[in-house]
Symmetry: C2
Subunit: 345 residues, 2 copies
């Protein structure tokens, strides 16, 4: 199935509102999921809607959630997300960070009692659109092994860092070499995985995706990626009144009780440090150095962080977003149960 | 030569003061360099003193530098380091960030017109000692190639993130797989380097350290490490009135004119988000999960970030710091020229 950006958003909004989500909640979630698909992060797009709908039915994600700032200084905030849709809660959290950073030059906001929020880069971009730098991190269920360890104890802990340069620069990455979804896909297709993606439950690197899923995902970059995943686990966990390690639950599938993950974000106003023109001019000069530099034989173009996703986004805005049959069939079934005909949308 | 921590500091202080550094400047530099050696970061310890002394003689590092806050909000500051010793300038910058974070919950400080500052982790620790989280990054001369590129265009851009947990957690790493100093050492010893450390000037991975030094260092973790190095280059460069890419000069050897690098740091007060006891208890629980988890066969212990360096530090405080003959002979020569007898210290 090929969906336009708008049609995907309409479908998501409609199904969420059928289950009681407010217009604002449904809009925010539709926006982030569809942006995920536009950029090619299929695992953070429509694929996650059935999970979200299941959680809404079970009540482990709350609708019309009460999002409360429970602790605050002029430059910081801690938000109790009321177990609401993560996309909505964190959109609000980032807006608070942006507002404070515009006043103070920098602001940091933490979130707990929330849910999976889609692509981290989306929230960094909220800051970028206002001329600010956005830094966003989050935890997930434990999937990644410590360096030297066998058990999955760290989340994939996405990190996004976006800067309002021209062109924009947006790092958006997980701490694992590969997303769990890629192992699931390889398993379904009966294909092997590269040796550095995962270890089996005995701690050996494996090319068998099923064994990798029983074992643990490997951190990117060896001990350095492990160390980065570790500190992000503490920033988006214990720092923000949220769980860490094995105690993080509910980001993959609904669990008994609520999701225990946390989020942490920082917004920075470059104007607190330098004139906007200077910042942009120096950044552009650096970007041009990199873009125009000598390439490894066989490489067509050197990309800046976020550029590959931006190219995919532009193409999919024109050509539409491919949605796998499996996801589409599951959605049609759910829609039918809710009395919604996807074909009519 | 084996030096005690105190003797190393005395030597550094004395030589710096002989060349006109103030007591505060000499103390700060001695502290950071000796801490680098204690932890096993030889490339950021006494090894760098001859370079610093050469720069002081040439006047490209200024003594009794005027360190000025040129732009300020209650939560941010931009510091003109007056071309002073980086260790002194950034110690002051981090103290400003700490002071502001204690008031506001979070603070960000940028630095330009400064110099190489030794180990980034030292400044994160200044924050940790005050119960704060410290995040520190910096740029260096361009040594690392972009992903898909051949030319060195990014710095090794150290990143330190430290949290005041029990035990403390301190990530302190460069964006290259290996430090440039390790290639220099391998070349001198006639040894090959692992294939993922560097590329030659044609863009091919090389095991010949000389060819790697002519080419470029590789970012750790492939495209992800490249993306991280890229955003840090912008944060510790254009954001703070400093250079980026090929324009960063003077962090390896004195150059014509002053060093053009920049630094950027953030301090966060956990108490702005959660009670200290809760933060520490949850963090400790996570650390214990990791420490007590199943190990890969053959691994003796799973370390948390900063733990290997902490163990080296404790051992060297007891047993002394090994200094290579080469560094010691060079220092003795410089000391003699300055009328200082190292043996008497």
């Amino acid at each position: 199935m090929i969906l336009t950006f708008d049609r995907e958003k309409t479908i998501i909004r409609t199904l969420l509102q059928k289950l009681g989500a407010s217009g604002e909640e449904a809009n925010a979630t539709a926006e982030v999921l569809a942006e995920g698909d536009l950029r090619g992060f299929a695992s953070h797009g429509l694929l996650r809607l059935p999970y979200i709908l299941r959680a809404l039915k079970r009540g482990t994600i709350a609708v019309k959630a009460e999002v409360k700032v429970v602790r605050e200084t002029p430059a910081t905030g801690l938000i109790n997300g009321g177990h609401g849709l993560g996309h909505y809660v964190v959109t609000r959290a980032m807006r608070l960070a942006i507002e404070k950073a515009k006043q103070q030059g920098v602001a940091a906001v933490g979130v707990y009692n929330s849910n999976h929020f889609g692509i981290a880069g989306y929230y960094a971009e909220l800051a970028m659109r206002e001329g600010l730098i956005g830094i966003v991190t989050t935890t997930t269920d434990a999937l990644v092994h410590p360096w030297g360890g066998v058990e999955p104890l760290l989340g994939t802990n996405a990190l996004a860092i976006g800067l309002p340069t021209e062109p924009p620069v947006l790092l958006d990455m997980a701490m694992s070499v590969a997303a769990r979804g890629k192992l699931v896909k390889a398993m379904k297709e009966g294909k092997p995985i590269p040796e550095n993606w995962a270890i089996d439950s005995g701690g050996k690197p494996t090319t068998d995706p099923a064994k990798g899923l029983e074992g643990a995902l490997s951190p990117f970059g060896g001990p350095k990626g492990y160390a980065l995943a570790f500190v992000l686990e503490l920033l988006a966990g214990p720092l923000v009144h949220a769980a860490a390690g094995k105690e993080v639950k509910g980001t993959l599938e609904p669990v008994e009780g609520f999701c225990t993950k946390g989020d942490f974000m920082i917004a920075i106003d470059p104007k607190a440090f330098v004139a906007q023109e200077e910042f942009r001019a120096r950044a552009r000069e650096f970007i041009e150095q990199v873009k125009s530099s000598q390439k490894v034989p066989g490489v067509g173009e050197i990309m800046v962080p976020g550029e590959p996703e931006q190219k995919t986004r532009e193409r999919r805005l024109r050509e539409g977003i491919p949605i796998s049959d499996e996801v589409w069939i599951e959605l049609e079934q759910i829609a039918k149960e809710l009395g919604v005909d996807l074909k009519s949308m």
